[in-house]
């Protein structure tokens, strides 16, 4: 060792490392550096645990506003907003009957920003329900559920159910009259299989309705046990389920080869507009291969990444844009209108009318004839039908196009007329003339369970759909008719339940006509 080669100054090195530590922390966290090139943009995405659910490149068709209308992102954004605001509300919420109501009052009156955050939470939840329904409608009418996206459609249905479950469980938490009675009705709908088991006299041995209600409430009435169960479902089990399903849903979009697009998408898009980042045109030899695991290729194979742009930044501008738009909508609604909080729940004075959240009012309208058919039977049939659609419609025509398939928009237009007309007609008849029980007071319940507006409408829609399948020689045509009819029925019944039903579930032209107690 020569004197010139002084041993490194340990302290100086220590100081240098200390000085460089912040930079090193940043560099080790974001390895790829500035996303400036195609390569760094790609690593930006697959190097990030939150972003890697996206595909690295995205087809230009996907970015057209008319392809998705941003509804999926809007649903996700609304969920994120409810998640954040919901966690904030948990700082103050106490899940025990009267304390719950008092803590809602605290949130409303004295918690800093509490009222605004609660309003946002409520409105974002509503936006989420609307967006998830519209998103499903979009996916259906663009025939995006078809191969290879059948399974993701099923995941989407699961997400719809969990979303409604989240809204429903959140409805009880304020513990006011509105909450208490809506949940009481909901719990008794869960019990409504008894309508059938009672009628055939087997409730004593086989009572699925009673078990459902007991599981939901933890008791025979809505009380502290029910509140803590709903709280658990609302803040933990359902959000976890939703998060997991969302992960699968997004990941499957990538694995299923991006969003569905028409086979002639490239031709219809034309050359990219000037001033955008260059579109990737160099056809690679291999893509997304299951390298060295098994033989064969993933579903995306044979679809080269032609006419794609990097997700970073093109997709992210779109996603962020929709996110901020959703934020804007929720903020505006929250500023305009306070979330309701009525009187403290009073088990001895029923709220009249006791209305569930608006998206269940269509069901509540059907429930007013037969609790089982309206509340469980028809919804189960609808869910089953929705789940089967991608496995029954194995056609190719019109994938990725609005109203794609035989019949197209004219068929949908006719179905809208039929759906609205038949629902309005049946409702008009039952509102004007009553139903079987009014005519034959001693009629067996089983007959009403079997024949009521819910089953009649379902039958009309189903027969119409079968006729369409026969006429167009196409399952897709039948599915479009059926879906449109159910959508219209949902719309009409929800509007009637929301605006035209008053105390004792009597029909009124406007709330101004309601008798005052």
């Amino acid at each position: 060792m020569t004197p010139a080669e002084k041993p490194p100054d340990g302290l100086r090195e220590f100081a240098d490392n200390l000085k460089a530590a912040p930079r090193h922390i940043y560099e080790t966290a974001f390895r790829s550096g500035t996303p400036a090139t195609d390569r760094t943009r790609s690593t930006f995405i697959f190097g990030n645990v939150f972003l890697h659910l996206h595909s690295v490149r995205v087809h230009r068709w996907t970015l057209r506003w008319s392809t998705t209308m941003g509804l999926g992102i809007m649903t996700t954004s609304a969920f994120l907003i409810t998640l954040i605001t919901g966690v904030m509300l948990m700082f103050y919420y106490k899940p025990f009957p009267e304390a719950a109501y008092d803590s809602m009052k605290d949130i409303h009156f004295v918690v800093p920003t509490g009222r605004f955050i609660r309003n946002i939470h409520r409105w974002a939840a509503n936006v989420m329900v609307v967006a998830v329904i519209l998103h499903m409608t979009r996916a259906f009418f663009t025939a995006s559920y078809r191969k290879p996206r059948e399974y993701n459609w099923l995941i989407g249905l699961g997400l719809l159910v969990v979303t409604l479950g989240l809204s429903f469980t959140g409805y009880l938490l304020p513990w006011d009259q509105l909450a208490y009675w809506a949940i009481t009705i909901g719990a008794n709908i869960a019990q409504s299989p008894r309508e059938v088991t009672d009628a055939i006299g087997i409730t004593q041995w086989f009572d699925p309705g009673g078990i459902q209600k007991l599981l939901l409430l933890g008791s025979d009435v809505v009380g502290p046990e029910a509140l803590i169960r709903f709280y658990l479902l609302h803040v933990m089990l359902l959000p976890l389920a939703l998060g997991a399903l969302m992960g699968v849903h997004f990941w499957r979009i990538r694995k299923d080869g991006g969003l569905a697009r028409p086979s002639d998408a490239d031709a219809r898009l034309g050359p990219p507009p000037a001033g955008t980042y260059p579109v990737f045109t160099e056809a690679p030899q291999r893509t997304y291969q299951l390298a060295a695991v098994v033989k064969g290729r993933t579903p995306a194979v044979n679809n080269g990444p032609e006419n794609t742009v990097p997700s970073m930044p093109h997709l992210f501008y779109a996603e962020l844009g929709v996110f901020m738009l959703t934020v804007l909508i929720c903020l505006a609604l929250a500023l305009i209108s306070d979330a309701p909080l009525k009187e403290l729940a009073n088990p001895s004075v029923p709220e009249n009318p006791a209305k569930a959240p608006w998206y269940f009012l269509g069901l509540q309208e059907l429930v007013s004839f037969s609790a089982f058919m309206g509340g469980i039977g028809v919804p189960a049939i609808v869910l089953l039908g929705l789940g089967l659609i991608p496995y029954l419609d194995r056609e190719k025509e019109g994938t990725g196009q609005w109203f794609g398939g035989p019949g197209g928009w004219p068929l949908v237009r006719r179905s809208i007329l039929l759906g609205l007309g038949s629902t309005l007609l049946v409702e008009t008849l039952v509102i004007r003339f009553g139903w079987l029980r009014e005519w034959f007071p001693h009629i067996p319940q089983l007959i009403i369970t079997a024949i009521n507006p819910a089953t009649i409408l379902t039958t009309i829609y189903a027969l119409y759909s079968l006729w369409l399948i026969r006429r167009h020689h196409s399952t897709r045509a039948g599915a479009m008719g059926l879906f449109t009819c159910f959508l219209c029925g949902f719309l009409v019944l929800t509007i009637i339940g929301t605006y035209f039903r008053g105390p004792n579930w009597v029909f009124y032209w406007s709330p101004g006509d309601w008798p005052k107690h």
């Binding site: 008092d102 009052k105 009156f109 009259q177 742009v309 501008y317 844009g321 009187e343």
Partner: protein
């Protein structure tokens, strides 16, 4: 693809603007902030923050003091806005007891309309300031309150004997000693609540005799027994809330407990009033009520004309004056008793709850006023109103002359089964034996009539009931019903009546009638209907007796 960037830009700017609007709203627009911003105390401007009074025992969290800052603990000197007027001196410090316990309203709220409870979903709006004494009823039950006339006599006795010269009651009267030694006599505002020396009179006399001062000799002189009783009535009702006591005296005059229960005492015909002051105005029917949709107004309009507010109401219209109605409304609103932790139960309520003391004075006039006057009238002259069976005139001298006290006692005790008169002595919510006796004494004093001595045995009529049947059908059945089941007139087949009525009583009543009622004497010649001879009356009585169930 720049349209996505525009979307992002515009949405973000919009969100930013709304967030700023929300922040401004939160920080500058709140009413309590604007009040506290201009408020100053002796130490300078007050700290701007939410304030509240918490009393865990009473389950009170009242944020009223965020605007009414002066009513919070140690903030008495704050001034600067109209709502900062200090609370008037009361024995319950609002900083300790909170506000909503007495005034109602929504303590958790911090906005004016919502905290005053003027929102349709808050079941307990603030009591109107006009009726704020009703708030005492949350915890207190004023005891020993007599009926109105007795109360007014007691009040005027205190005034007439010039007790105000030395004593102060609710801010009135009293003399400051010239030498600065305080008041001449103690303040008696709460004598009834805190208790007072029962031996006050001998002590006053003794002091007067010993006292060399001229003032004593001038201002105090002997008080007779009757006045001393009146003064005792006055003192025992001094609870610091004379308006509430006055209202209760009215309640004890209108006979409300004849049909309604309060704290488990009273009749069954009407709704229980124990918590009438908590009735949710949001659940009351205002469709036939003129004026504001407040509980007070509903009660007032209902008292004025029950049938026009509540369809099919059996409550008679009592012909009350506006002042009567106001007092009854005040008392009804004060029926808002809350369950309290034991350490907060006041003495008066404890006496009623645990020691069996009545919530009304138990002299005959008050018991009559509280239980009987609603149906039988304040003067005992009965009540006839269209559509309802009439109530008999029970202070009628003809009646009282012919019946024994035993008859009256049986009637009050066992009632008239099947009719509207309840069995006051037999039901748990009814009257105690000594109260029944005091009512009988009161009835006798009301008419000034004692029973005429009657030396006949209770049952002596031996006439033929068959001829009585025909006579009854032609002469009596029109009013008393074919089977004596009653109609416009009282029922005669009633077992309690038949058991306690003597033959002489029945014969006298049929023969001589009851003056001042529809029942005219059948011995008197009348152009309107047939007269009955003595023997005929006896046969009618024999027929009436056939309804009596034989004692086993």
């Amino acid at each position: 693809m720049s349209k996505n960037k525009y979307l992002l830009l515009l949405s973000s700017l919009g969100a930013l603007a709304l967030l700023i609007a929300a922040a401004v709203n939160e920080h500058f627009m709140k009413e309590w902030r604007r009040i506290q911003n201009v408020a100053v105390s002796d130490e300078g401007p007050v700290e701007v923050r939410l304030r509240q009074v918490i009393n865990p025992g009473l389950k009170v969290t009242d944020r009223c003091v965020s605007c009414h800052v002066t009513m919070g603990a140690g903030e008495g000197s704050v001034r600067g806005a109209k709502v900062l007027a200090p609370h008037k001196a009361v024995s319950h410090d609002p900083a300790e007891y909170g506000c909503t316990v007495c005034h109602g309203g929504q303590g958790l709220a911090t906005d004016k309309a919502e905290s005053h409870g003027d929102v349709h979903f808050w079941p307990e709006p603030m009591l109107p300031s006009h009726y704020s004494y009703a708030g005492c009823g949350t915890c207190h039950a004023p005891l020993r309150v007599p009926q109105r006339e007795s109360y007014q006599r007691a009040v005027s006795a205190f005034e007439r004997l010039d007790c105000y010269a030395c004593h102060r009651v609710e801010g009135r009267g009293g003399t400051i000693r010239p030498d600065g030694g305080g008041m001449e006599g103690p303040d008696l505002s709460k004598a009834g609540l805190a208790g007072y020396d029962r031996e006050w009179y001998p002590k006053h006399v003794e002091k007067m005799q010993k006292e060399p001062l001229k003032a004593w000799k001038m201002s105090f002189s002997a008080v007779n027994d009757e006045d001393r009783q009146l003064l005792d009535v006055f003192l025992s009702t001094c609870v610091g809330a004379s308006r509430l006591v006055e209202a209760k005296a009215m309640f004890n005059t209108a006979g409300c407990l004849g049909c309604h229960k309060v704290s488990g005492v009273g009749g069954d015909s009407g709704p229980d009033l124990s918590r009438a002051g908590y009735k949710d105005p949001g659940l009351a029917d205002f469709s036939h009520v003129s004026g504001p949709a407040t509980l007070a107004n509903w009660q007032a309009e209902h008292l004025r004309s029950p049938l026009s507010i509540v369809l099919g109401s059996q409550m008679p219209s009592l012909g009350l004056s506006d002042r009567d109605i106001e007092q009854l409304v005040l008392y009804t609103l004060s029926l808002r008793r809350r369950d309290l932790p034991i350490s907060y139960v006041p003495k008066d309520r404890m006496r009623a709850l645990r020691f069996g003391e009545r919530e009304f004075s138990t002299d005959g006039a008050t018991v009559y006023g509280t239980f009987c006057a609603g149906c039988h009238g304040l003067a005992g002259s009965g009540l006839r109103s269209a559509g309802l069976a009439s109530f008999p005139s029970i202070a009628n001298p003809d009646l009282l002359e012919r019946v024994s006290d035993e008859f009256l006692k049986n009637t009050i005790q066992h009632g008239r089964p099947g009719r509207r008169m309840p069995a006051w002595g037999d039901m748990a919510s009814g009257l105690r034996p000594e109260e029944i006796l005091s009512v009988i004494d009161y009835l006798r004093s009301l008419s000034g009539v004692k029973q005429k001595p009657d030396r006949t045995p209770p049952r002596w009529v031996k006439a033929d009931s068959a001829s009585g049947r025909a006579l009854f059908a032609s002469t009596c059945a029109g009013c008393h019903g074919a089977q004596g089941e009653g109609g416009e007139a009282p029922a005669l087949n009633n077992q309690v009546l038949l058991a306690s009525a003597t033959d002489t009583y029945l014969i006298e009543t049929i023969g001589r009638g009851r003056r001042g009622t529809v029942m005219q004497g059948f011995l008197d010649p009348s152009p309107a209907r047939r007269t009955l001879a003595g023997a005929e009356i006896e046969s009618v009585v024999a027929f009436i007796r056939t309804w009596e169930k034989k004692q086993p």
